[in-house]
């Protein structure tokens, strides 16, 4: 399944060409039973439209919000979600794992 991200990255390129602000969020580290492996990615545009997944649905909402900040500022960010984390309590990785997600602007 790792290898099926083609269309996501293609969409990132297409959105960019259409003049959208675009961000790429990538799982860079996982501990415990994280739902998606390192390398999984999510692309987000400035409409808040997104494709792909970094957690199978648990924390995408929070990642999209942060991605909009990254698109605006151009500064990359590292996000962490896990059971010991306040944010995770709110947006929740129900599986009990921890993940780190790197969010960067495209372009």
């Amino acid at each position: 399944m790792l290898n099926r991200d083609e269309d996501i990255l293609q969409a990132a390129e297409t959105w960019q060409k259409q003049g959208h602000g675009v961000a790429l969020a990538t799982v860079v580290e996982t501990w415990g039973s994280a739902p998606r492996p390192a390398g999984s990615s999510l692309v987000i545009n400035d409409d808040g439209t997104f494709l792909g997944s970094v957690s199978g649905g648990c924390v995408e909402g929070a990642v999209v919000t942060e991605a909009l900040d990254v698109i605006a500022s151009g500064q990359p960010k590292m996000l962490e979600f896990g059971v010991a984390d306040e944010t995770a309590w709110n947006v929740g990785l129900s599986c009990g794992g921890t993940i780190r997600v790197f969010v960067e602007k495209v372009g």
């Binding site: 390129e13 990359p76 495209v106």
Partner: protein
């Protein structure tokens, strides 16, 4: 990610060539390394290990934390022969994430009833194979036992440098096959690439067990470093 890097990444992926994106997660610095350039890269040991495993991960180099994101093409499996072994092999390979295609010109064998949910091409290899884009990320298995069907397939697999080539048959059958292929212009180095008898020697008896032996051998070929690969063979 710079747009140039994204474009190059998408182009390499479309061409089914592996790429690794190296990111310094502290500051976002990034570069793209093509598989062909790994040997000359300062991170060659780390890069080739991650690529072989088909796995993304972090390394620490000179106090920098780098994320290596591996983009490897989906491996394909082309099976020549819609035989009993293939009925077990195709679903097993799919569960291991291979894109599987079965080729057999004999329509009685290549029937959707025998191969539900598997792409089937009921044509001779010379017609069936060119559109399949057989490449280095393809494992190629010939199991019809019929030289008219297997041999042209194997010649095609040599040409396309498949990472694994296997053919069903005893040592005696294989010796005859080697003679025929040589007569058709195959080099000794090509013939040496055929795994025959096919599959790891695990004492497989039933078609399903033979399928396990074949997928184990293909996995070893895909994942083991070159030296250990020789020992396993």
């Amino acid at each position: 990610m710079k747009l140039e890097i994204l474009k190059e990444l998408n182009a390499e992926r479309a061409a089914r060539r592996p790429v690794i994106i190296v990111t310094d997660t502290a500051n976002g610095d990034q570069r793209l390394v093509k598989a062909a350039d790994i040997a000359a890269d300062p991170l060659r040991a780390e890069l080739s290990k991650q690529l072989r495993m088909g796995k993304s991960g972090n390394v620490e180099v000179a106090g920098k934390k780098l994320f290596l994101n591996v983009y490897a093409p989906t491996a394909k499996l082309v099976i020549i022969g819609a035989v009993h072994i293939s009925q077990a092999l195709a679903p097993l390979a799919r569960s291991l994430d291979y894109d599987v295609t079965v080729v057999d010109p004999r329509t009685a064998f290549a029937s959707p009833e025998r191969f539900p949910d598997v792409p089937l091409v009921a044509e001779w290899p010379d017609v069936a194979l060119p559109p399949l884009n057989v490449d280095h990320y393809t494992a190629f298995v010939a199991v019809t036992h019929d030289p008219k069907i297997d041999d042209p397939g194997l010649l095609h697999a040599f040409d396309r440098e498949c990472f694994y080539i296997g053919a069903l048959g005893s040592r005696k059958t294989h010796a005859k096959r080697a003679e025929r292929l040589r007569a058709q212009g195959a080099k000794d180095s090509d013939i040496a690439r055929i795994h025959a008898p096919i599959g790891l020697d695990i004492g497989a008896v039933s078609p399903s067990e033979i399928a396990v032996a074949i997928m184990a051998e293909i996995t070893a070929q895909l994942r083991l470093p070159p030296k250990e690969k020789e020992e396993a063979a």
